[in-house]
C-alpha cells in the first residue's frame, strides 16, 4: 500500500493517543528487557563458570577419576606406561580451609613437568629469587583473585588448615592466566599430598592420547582393566555436567521472565482490540472508498509490528543496561548460588537479541491478529453504523474454543518432561490462561446479568447492565489483569508451599540440639577418631550422632551424587528422614535415596544397586525415597556403620549433639571452645541453621518477586489502556448522559464502579486460575525441573493483601482514565463524528 497512506493512518492514530502507544511499547519493552537481561546475566555467568572449569582441564582428551573422592597413585603409574597415552598428568584437588574465611580455597596439586603439556595455563613463572619454587613442598602459586581475597603478595606466608591441623605455605608467584574472579592455588603435587594427608592418593589423571587413538575404544579397554570404581570423563561430558547443574534453574528463570512478556502480549491484544474496535467505522470507510481487505489487514498488522519492533528495541537496550548493572553489582548470581566465584563480563549475544526481537514482534503481531481479522472481515456497510462494536466482538465469544483450550491444557499436564524440562507443563499453563480468558465473556455476561437483576440505584444498575450486555469488551479489559494476577497467585502459592515445605523439612532433619562440623567443611575436611571421642565425651551431652558425607560420580555426564552416611535406625526411620512413602525395613545394606535419584537414575524402592566404595562395588538395597531440598542432583543416605564396615574409614565430617537436660547450649559451646582444635570447628543450633537456610531461600526467590511485581505493573498498564480506550470510545454515551442530567461525579462513580466490578471478577477468576496453575508448578514443574515434591500451602494473607492493592489500583486507574476522558465538553462529545 502507498507509504503515504500507511504513514498518515499510523501517525494520526498514535498522535491522537500517545499514552496508549507508550503503554503498549512499555509492556513489550519491559517483557523483552527482563527476558533478555536475565538471559545475558545467566549466559555471562554460565560461560565464565564453564570457561573457569575448562581452564582447569586444559587440553586433556579425558580425565580419569574415581567415582568417589580419591584413588591410589598406582593407577597413574599404569596409565602413564600405556603406549596409547601421549601424556598423563596427575592432579590432586584440595578444598583447603582458610582460617577467618567462610569459603575454602581450591588448591590443585600438579606435576609441573606433565602439567606443562596439558594445563600450561595453571603453571606460573616463579620469582627470580626462587627459580625452583614450583617444585618445593612449602610454596604455592595464587591466582590474582585469590591474592586479593587473601590480601597477600609474593613472598608472604599464608596459613591454611588441613582438617584440624594448621599449615603455613609461602606465596611463590601469580597464576597470570587464571580467569578473572577465579580463586585458585597451584602447588607441587607431592607437597600437596604430604601437607593435606593424602600421600599416595590422586583426584584425577588428565590424559592426552597419542595421535590417531580413538578415545571411546581406549576408554572401554582401560576401564575394563582398571575396574568399575574409576570413570573416564570426556571434555564434552564435563561441559554437559556443568550445564546440567544450573540448566533447570536458568530455564525456569527465563520462563518466569517470559511471564512479563506474556502479560505484555495480552496488553497489546487489549490495546489493539479496543483501538481497532473504536476505529471500526473508520476502517469501514477506508474499505468503502477503495481499500482492499489485504491492504487493511496489512495496515492493522503493521501497527502491531511497529509497536513490536520499537518495544523490542527499547527492551533490548533496557535489558543490556539491566544485565550490565546486575553483573557489576551482583556478579552474575541472581540468588540461586549456581555460579560461585566468577566475575562474568557482559557479552552481547546477537543471535539471542535477534530471537528476543523476533519474540517481541510475534507477541505484538499475535496481539493484533484477532482484531485485524475481525476488522477486515467486517461488512463495511454495517460497520459504518453506530453500535456495531458489540457485534464485532461476538467472534471472540466462543465458549467451546475456551473449553477446548482448557482441555488441551489439562491433557498437557499429563505429558512427560521434554529434554528433562517441564516444557509441556509450561504449555499447559499457556493453554489454561488462553482458555480462561476466552471463557470470560460468557462468564461475565452470566454473572453481571444475575447481579443486574438485583441492582441498587441508577448508576450501579447502568454499570451492571452495560457489563452484562457488552461482556466481550469487559473481558478484553480484564485479560491483562487476569493473566498477571493469576500468575502472581500461582507463584505466591508455589513459593509459599516451597518455603513451608523447606521449613518443615529442616525441622525434621535438625532434630539435635547442636551441630558441629569442621570449618568450611568439605568432604575432605574431617574429624579424626580421637577428635570425635573428645567431643562425644563432653560431660554435658546426653547423646551424639556422627555423619560422613562425600560425593559419588555415578554417571560422567551427570553431576556427582551426594552420599550421607549417618546413624540411622531402620525401625524409626520416619522420625529422622522426611520419607515420601513408608520405607522397607530389615535390609542388610539399606540406602534411602532422594526423589532426584528416582528421576535421574530410574532407581526404585527395593531395587538392588551397586555403589563404589573404597575401590570396590558393593550391593545396597533401596529401602525408601526421601525428600531432599538441598541437592537437586541426587543424594543417598546410608547407615554410618555400614559405610565404616565396608570402607574402614572412621573419619567423619559432622556431629549432632543432644544436650543433657541438666545443661544448656551456652555451656556446651564453652566446652567446645575449650577443645584444643576448637578453631577448626563450627557449631550452630538448629534455629540458627534454619534461619540461615530460610535467608538463602528468600534470597534465591527475591528475583521471582521482582519479576512478578513487573508482571502486575504491566497488568495495571493493561487496565489503564483498556479503560482509557473504552471511556474514550464512550465519550458520546457520557455526553448524552450529561445532557440527560447525570453529573460528572455520577459518571465517575459509574466508571469506578465498572472498574471495581471487573477487577473483582478478575480477582475471583484469577485466584481460581492461579490455584490451578500453582498445582501445575508444585506437582509437575518442580518435580520435573528440580526433582523434588512439596506440600500445598496457600498464603491467604499475602493473597488478600495483593488482591486488595490490585482492586484499589484498578478502580483508581479506571477513575483517572474516566476523569481524563470526560474532561471535555458534553456538547462536543455528542457532536463527535465518532
Amino acid at each position: 500500500m502507498q507509504i503515504t497512506l500507511i504513514r498518515w493512518l499510523l501517525w494520526s492514530e498514535w498522535r491522537a493517543h500517545p499514552v496508549r502507544l507508550l503503554l503498549a511499547l512499555c509492556a513489550i519493552a519491559l517483557g523483552i528487557a527482563l527476558g533478555f537481561g536475565i538471559h545475558l546475566i545467566n549466559a555471562a555467568a554460565f560461560n565464565e563458570f564453564s570457561s573457569a572449569a575448562r581452564s582447569l582441564s586444559g587440553s586433556a582428551d579425558l580425565h580419569i577419576r574415581a567415582r568417589s573422592a580419591l584413588f591410589p597413585e598406582s593407577v597413574y603409574l599404569s596409565l602413564a606406561q600405556m603406549p596409547d597415552v601421549a601424556v598423563a598428568s596427575p592432579v590432586l584437588e584440595i578444598e583447603a580451609i582458610v582460617p577467618g574465611k567462610s569459603s575454602p580455597l581450591k588448591i590443585l596439586g600438579l606435576d609441573s613437568f606433565q602439567a606443562a603439556n596439558i594445563t600450561p595455563d595453571l603453571l606460573a613463572l616463579p620469582d627470580e629469587r626462587q627459580p625452583f619454587a614450583g617444585l618445593m613442598a612449602d610454596t604455592l602459586f595464587l591466582s590474582p583473585a585469590a591474592m586479593q581475597w587473601l590480601n597477600v603478595k609474593i613472598g608472604d606466608e599464608i596459613t591454611l588448615r588441613s582438617s584440624t591441623t594448621l599449615l603455613h605455605l609461602q606465596v611463590a608467584g601469580v597464576l597470570q592466566f587464571a580467569r578473572a574472579g577465579q580463586r585458585l592455588a597451584v602447588m607441587d603435587i607431592a607437597g600437596a599430598q604430604w601437607h593435606f594427608g593424602k600421600v599416595g592418593q590422586l583426584s584425577r589423571v588428565d590424559i592426552k592420547l597419542a595421535p590417531g587413538v580413538a578415545a571411546d575404544g581406549w576408554t572401554n579397554r582401560v576401564l575394563a582393566q582398571l575396574g568399575d570404581t574409576l570413570v573416564a570423563v570426556a571434555a564434552s561430558d564435563q561441559e554437559q555436567r556443568t550445564a546440567s547443574l544450573s540448566r533447570a534453574y536458568r530455564v525456569n528463570l527465563n520462563v518466569l521472565a517470559m511471564v512479563a512478556l506474556f502479560t505484555g502480549a495480552f496488553l497489546v491484544f487489549s490495546t489493539q482490540a479496543l483501538s481497532v474496535l473504536r476505529r471500526r467505522s473508520q476502517f469501514a470507510l477506508c474499505r468503502v472508498i477503495g481499500m482492499t481487505q489485504n491492504q487493511l489487514m496489512r495496515q492493522i498488522l503493521l501497527e502491531g509490528c511497529v509497536i513490536g519492533v520499537l518495544g523490542s528495541l527499547l527492551g533490548l537496550a533496557l535489558g543490556i543496561l539491566m544485565a550490565s548493572t546486575a553483573l557489576n553489582l551482583l556478579g552474575g548470581d541472581l540468588g540461586g548460588g549456581y555460579f560461585p566465584g566468577v566475575q562474568p563480563q557482559l557479552e552481547f549475544d546477537g543471535l539471542a537479541a535477534f530471537l528476543f526481537l523476533l519474540g517481541g514482534v510475534i507477541v505484538a503481531l499475535l496481539g493484533t491478529l484477532a482484531p485485524a481479522i475481525e476488522a477486515t472481515r467486517a461488512h463495511p456497510a454495517a460497520s459504518l453504523k453506530a453500535g456495531s462494536e458489540d457485534q464485532a466482538l461476538l467472534s471472540l465469544n466462543k465458549p467451546w474454543l475456551a473449553l477446548l483450550s482448557i482441555l488441551v491444557g489439562a491433557l498437557l499436564t499429563q505429558a512427560p518432561p521434554i529434554s528433562n524440562l517441564p516444557l509441556a507443563a509450561y504449555l499447559a499453563i499457556v493453554f489454561l490462561l488462553i482458555g480462561s480468558i476466552a471463557l470470560m465473556p460468557q462468564l461475565a455476561a452470566t454473572v453481571f446479568k444475575l447481579l443486574a437483576r438485583r441492582w441498587l440505584g441508577v448508576m450501579t444498575g447502568l454499570a451492571l447492565t452495560r457489563l452484562a450486555n457488552a461482556p466481550s469488551q469487559a473481558s478484553i479489559a480484564l485479560s491483562g489483569v487476569l493473566v498477571s494476577f493469576s500468575l502472581m497467585v500461582a507463584m505466591a502459592i508455589m513459593v509459599s508451599s516451597f518455603r513451608t515445605s523447606v521449613d518443615t523439612w529442616l525441622q525434621q532433619l535438625l532434630s539435635a540440639d547442636m551441630y558441629v562440623r569442621t570449618v568450611s567443611g568439605g568432604e575432605q575436611s574431617v574429624l579424626q577418631v580421637h577428635e570425635q571421642e573428645k567431643i562425644s565425651s563432653l560431660p554435658n551431652l546426653s547423646r551424639t550422632e556422627k555423619t560422613r558425607h562425600f560425593s559419588l560420580l555415578l554417571d560422567p555426564t551427570k553431576p556427582a551424587v551426594a552420599v550421607i552416611a549417618r546413624s540411622i535406625n531402620q525401625q524409626s526411620i520416619e522420625r529422622s528422614l522426611p520419607l515420601i512413602e513408608s520405607a522397607l525395613s530389615d535390609m542388610q545394606y539399606p540406602i534411602w535415596i532422594s526423589e532426584a535419584m528416582v528421576d535421574l537414575y530410574g532407581w526404585k524402592k527395593a531395587q538392588v544397586v551397586q555403589l563404589p566404595l573404597a575401590g570396590k562395588l558393593h550391593a545396597f538395597t533401596v529401602a525408601g525415597v526421601w525428600r531432599d531440598y538441598a541437592r537437586q542432583s541426587g543424594s543417598i543416605q546410608m547407615r554410618l556403620d555400614d559405610y565404616q564396615n565396608l570402607t574402614g574409614d572412621k573419619t567423619i565430617n559432622d556431629m549432632s549433639l543432644w544436650i543433657a537436660s541438666s545443661s544448656n547450649a551456652t555451656e556446651v559451646r564453652k566446652q567446645l571452645q575449650a577443645l584444643s582444635f576448637s578453631t577448626a570447628l563450627e557449631f550452630a543450633e538448629p534455629g540458627e541453621i534454619q534461619q540461615i537456610s530460610m535467608k538463602i531461600f528468600d534470597r534465591s526467590f527475591a528475583i521471582t518477586y521482582v519479576l512478578e511485581a513487573v508482571a502486575i505493573i504491566i497488568g495495571l498498564f493493561g487496565v489503564a489502556a483498556s479503560f482509557s480506550s473504552q471511556t474514550l470510545a464512550r465519550a458520546k454515551e457520557f455526553g448524552m448522559l450529561r445532557h440527560l442530567g447525570v453529573t460528572r461525579q455520577q459518571i465517575l462513580f459509574l466508571l469506578a464502579g465498572e472498574g471495581a466490578l471487573l477487577t473483582s471478577m478478575a480477582i475471583l477468576v484469577g485466584s481460581l486460575l492461579g490455584l490451578c496453575i500453582s498445582l501445575i508448578l508444585i506437582f509437575i514443574v518442580n518435580p520435573q525441573s528440580f526433582h523434588w515434591t512439596m506440600q500445598l500451602h496457600i498464603p491467604w494473607n499475602l493473597l488478600l493483601a495483593t488482591a486488595s492493592i490490585l482492586f484499589i489500583s484498578a478502580a483508581l486507574t479506571a477513575l483517572i482514565s474516566g476523569r481524563f476522558a470526560i474532561s471535555g465538553s458534553a456538547l462536543r462529545a455528542v457532536k463527535e463524528d465518532w
Binding site: 502507498q2 503515504t4 497512506l5 498518515w8 493512518l9 494520526s12 492514530e13 498522535r15 491522537a16 467505522s281 473508520q282 470507510l285 477506508c286 474499505r287 468503502v288 472508498i289 477503495g290 481499500m291 482492499t292 481487505q293 489485504n294 461488512h379 463495511p380 456497510a381 459504518l384 462536543r828 463527535e832 463524528d833 465518532w834
Partner: protein
C-alpha cells in the same frame, strides 16, 4: 455561488469530458436478509451524466441498493453492470478496485477520519488511486475551506464537514457518485447549497449520481426521481409534488 463555480471549473477538465459514456444497469436485483425480502426484481438504469434520486420509506432497502451498486454487498440474484462489468460477480478485491476508481461516496454522518487533517481526509482517494495529491488542495479551496487544511474534523460545523466529505467524494473524478442522505444533517440553506453543487458537478463532468433521500426538496434537484417500494422502483418524476419543488 462563486465557490461553486470554481469547484465546477476544477472538476471538469478536458480529459474527463472526453471519456466514453458511463452506464449503470441493475437487472432483476433481489436481496433478502434471512427471511426478510428487501429488494425484489429491481430494475435500474442510469445513463452517463444522469442524476437520479431514490426515495422510499425507512427500511424499504434504499441504502441496501446503494451498497449493492457499490459492490459492498452481494445480491441474492440479478446483475449490476457498471460500464459493462458485473460488479456483483467480482470477488471482494476486484470489486474494491472497481469501486475505488469509479465511485465516490457521500454519507449523512459525513464519516471523516477524526485524526487526519482536512487535507488528508480529502486526499485519501487520490492516495488509493495513485493520483497526484495537488487536487486535494484545489478541492479544499473550492469548498471554501482553503485556510483550514491542517485543521481536524472536530473543529468544523456539520455543513463544513459535509463539504469536506463532498470534496473527498469528488477529488478523484469518479464516474458514479453515490450519496446516502447527504443533507440529512444539514440546515435547509446549506442543504440546498450542497445539492446545487452536486448537480452542477454531475452536469460538468458527465458523471452519474444516485441520491438516496427522504427529502422531496432534495429529490427535486434530480433529473429523475424513483420511488422504491416492496414492488420495486417506480418513476415518479412527473408527480406534482416534485414539479412544484423544481
Amino acid at each position: 455561488m462563486c465557490r461553486l463555480a470554481t469547484l465546477c471549473a476544477l472538476l471538469h477538465p478536458a480529459s474527463a469530458m472526453s471519456e466514453s459514456p458511463f452506464s449503470l444497469q441493475c437487472i432483476s436485483l433481489n436481496k433478502a436478509y434471512g427471511q426478510r425480502h428487501v429488494l425484489k426484481n429491481v430494475e435500474l438504469s442510469v445513463a452517463s451524466g444522469e442524476y437520479v434520486a431514490i426515495m422510499g420509506d425507512s427500511g424499504v432497502g434504499k441504502s441496501s441498493l446503494l451498497n449493492l451498486i457499490a459492490g459492498l454487498d452481494k445480491p441474492n440474484s440479478g446483475k449490476i453492470c457498471i460500464d459493462g462489468v458485473d460488479i456483483s460477480a467480482l470477488n471482494d478485491e476486484a470489486a474494491t478496485l472497481l469501486r475505488r476508481e469509479k465511485c465516490g461516496f457521500i454519507f449523512q454522518a459525513f464519516h471523516l477520519l477524526p485524526h487526519l487533517t482536512l487535507l488528508q481526509n480529502i486526499a485519501l482517494p487520490l492516495v488509493l488511486n495513485h493520483l497526484p495529491l495537488g487536487r486535494a488542495q484545489q478541492l479544499l479551496s473550492a469548498v471554501g475551506l482553503q485556510d483550514r487544511g491542517d485543521d481536524f474534523p472536530r473543529q468544523l460545523s456539520g455543513g463544513e464537514m459535509q463539504r469536506i466529505a463532498i470534496a473527498r467524494a469528488l477529488v478523484h473524478q469518479p464516474r458514479l457518485l453515490l450519496a446516502d442522505e447527504p443533507t440529512g444533517n444539514l440546515d435547509p440553506d446549506t442543504a440546498q447549497d450542497i445539492l446545487q453543487l452536486l448537480k452542477r458537478e454531475i452536469r460538468a463532468t458527465n458523471a452519474s449520481a444516485i441520491l438516496v433521500t427522504h427529502s422531496a426538496l432534495a429529490a427535486a434537484t434530480a433529473d429523475r426521481v424513483l420511488l422504491l417500494s416492496r414492488d420495486g422502483l417506480t418513476d415518479i418524476t412527473g408527480n406534482k409534488e416534485f414539479a412544484s419543488c423544481k
